[in-house]
Every structure is written in C-alpha cells, then in structure tokens.
C-alpha cells in the first residue's frame, strides 16, 4: 500500500512531508532526553563549583585552552558544512551532499584525534583525578572534582561524536548509492539534527571546562 502513495512513504502518512515531519519530531524528542542527560552534567558543574569555587577553578586552569578552542572551531564548521550539504540535496545536488558529508566526518574525526592527544597530555601531566595529582595542597580536592567532571563530560561527548561520525558516513554512502534526492532526504535531515546537537553540547562544555575557571 505504501508504494501507492510514493516510494519511502508508509501507509499511515499522507505524504513525504508528513512522514518527514514525524521523523524530525521523533528526533527532537530524543534530543530532549539528551538535553536532560547532559543537563545532569551541568548540574554537577554548578554544584561542585558553588561549594569549592577556588579549588574547582584551580583545576580548570590546568586545561589546554588551545585544544578546546580549535575543537570548537572544528565542530562549528562541521555543522555548517553538513547544513550546506542538506541545502544542496534540496536542489537535488547529490554529489555536493556526499562531499559535505565526508568533510563533516573528516572534521569530526580531527576533533576526536585532537581530543585523544589532549587526554594523553592531561594524563602525562598527572591530571587524572585518582592517584598522584598535579594540583597540591588544600585545592587538590576541588581540582580532582573538576577533573572528574572533565573526563566524564568529554568522554561522553566523544562517544556521541563517534556515533555521529558513523551516522554521517552512513548518509554519505547512501547518498553516493543514489538513495537520496530532492524528493526524499528525511534521514539526511534527522542525522543533521543529531550532529548539530553534538555541536551544541561542545559549545556549552567549552566555557564550562576551559574559560570560566581561567581567571588571569
């Protein structure tokens, strides 16, 4: 029955746009749960910094702001590139969508490589909250809390990034196989929402981790 309406459209929908709107709303509902998931992390940051502000900020001063800033630029650019690809598929320019997807995945991969390099430097600087720790004295406790937050937050974000890179790569492969056109590109839209959300998470984490505690 679905074939009677149009390819890809299931029987319960009036048309392609109706089905696409439903898929987009479903993704937004999922993203709403993700907002609350990462909201818990923001609450942890607020709580810990409120009670041990000086020590928490002492921990934050040890972060590598250059890595965080480059990664912010990379992610913002990747969201822009993916959105540009989405705009191109609306005018049936599939090849441009494929190029944008690969560039987006490349930018995301570069983000992860830089993140791993940053973690490596952090660990060699004795900033892992368990064991010998770089920040001495009475500020050690609060600084350890900051670095616990840091590793949990950046680790969870990196997992989301890895999933996003996989999804963007999947979109690129499907687009190259001719599965998307101006008539139907719902998965491209849905994956784009996820990718932009991962970008938003980093936009919020960036000042929490790298900027607020760094009082010159």
């Amino acid at each position: 029955m679905s074939e009677e309406i149009a390819p890809h459209v299931h029987f319960q929908y009036a048309g392609v746009r109706h089905q696409a709107d439903t898929a987009i709303a479903g993704m937004w509902l999922f993203l709403a749960t993700e907002v609350l998931f990462f909201g818990g992390l923001i609450l942890v940051w607020l709580f810990c910094r409120h009670w041990q502000q000086e020590a928490f900020d002492a921990g934050a001063r040890e972060t590598l702001i250059s890595f965080g800033s480059i990664n912010l630029a990379l992610l913002v650019t990747s969201s822009f590139v993916y959105a540009a690809g989405l705009a191109w598929i609306r005018t049936n320019q599939v090849q441009w969508l494929v190029r944008c997807c690969w560039l987006t995945a490349g930018l995301g991969g570069t983000f992860l490589v830089l993140k791993v390099m940053e973690w490596s430097i952090d660990l060699s600087d004795h900033l892992f909250p368990a064991g010998p720790f770089k920040v001495p004295g009475p500020e050690a406790g609060g600084a350890r809390l900051f670095w616990s937050f840091y590793f949990v937050a950046t680790g969870l974000h990196a997992v989301h990034m890895a999933i996003g890179i996989g999804l963007v790569g999947w979109v690129a492969l499907r687009a190259r196989a001719g599965r998307f056109s101006a008539a139907w590109y719902t998965p491209v839209e849905v994956v784009g929402l996820y990718w932009s959300f991962v970008d938003i998470v980093w936009i919020v984490l960036y000042p929490l981790i790298y900027l607020i505690g760094r009082n010159p």
């Binding site: 709303a25 937004w28 609450l43 709580f47 009670w51």
Partner: protein, 95 residues
Amino acid sequence: MSREHRNLLIAWMALLLLGGVEFAGSFVHFSADYRPLLLVPALVMVGLVGMAFMQVRTGPSLSRSFSVAALCWLTVLLGLGMMDPFTRAIYAITH
C-alpha cells in the same frame, strides 16, 4: 550561491565571531562570581545553531514543542538541583 547557503555562511561566521568573543573574554580579569557570564556568548551560539542549522523556527510545530519542552525541563532540573545550595548559608568548618 543560493540564499540558503548565504544565510548558513553568515551564521557560521557569526558563530566563529562569538566563539572568539568568549575566548578573548576569558583573558579579561573579573570576579570569579561573575565568570559564568562567559556562558552568555555560548548561549547565543546555541540559539544560532538551533535557528540556522537545526531550523527550529521553520520546522514542524511538534518539534518546536519538544525543543521548548527540553529547555523547560532543563530549567526545572537545574533550578531544583541548585535551589538548596544557592539559598543555604555557608559556614566555615572549624576543627
């Protein structure tokens, strides 16, 4: 270049500019209590990504409802979670 691509380009440049503003702002000395103000450019960036890249405004009304609901519940989570710490007197620990 289409109008949509031009708008995306403008949004991208605005995002980089806002990122630069908060980066530069972090090198200005001001009270630790007011340092969370550095989140303001980030929140503007979130709005910009939502409008330009996620198309919240032009998307289906149901998705707009879910995005607003997410913000409401985040406010409830952070508000309830921090109500006690923000309103509690802090006493020095004496040994």
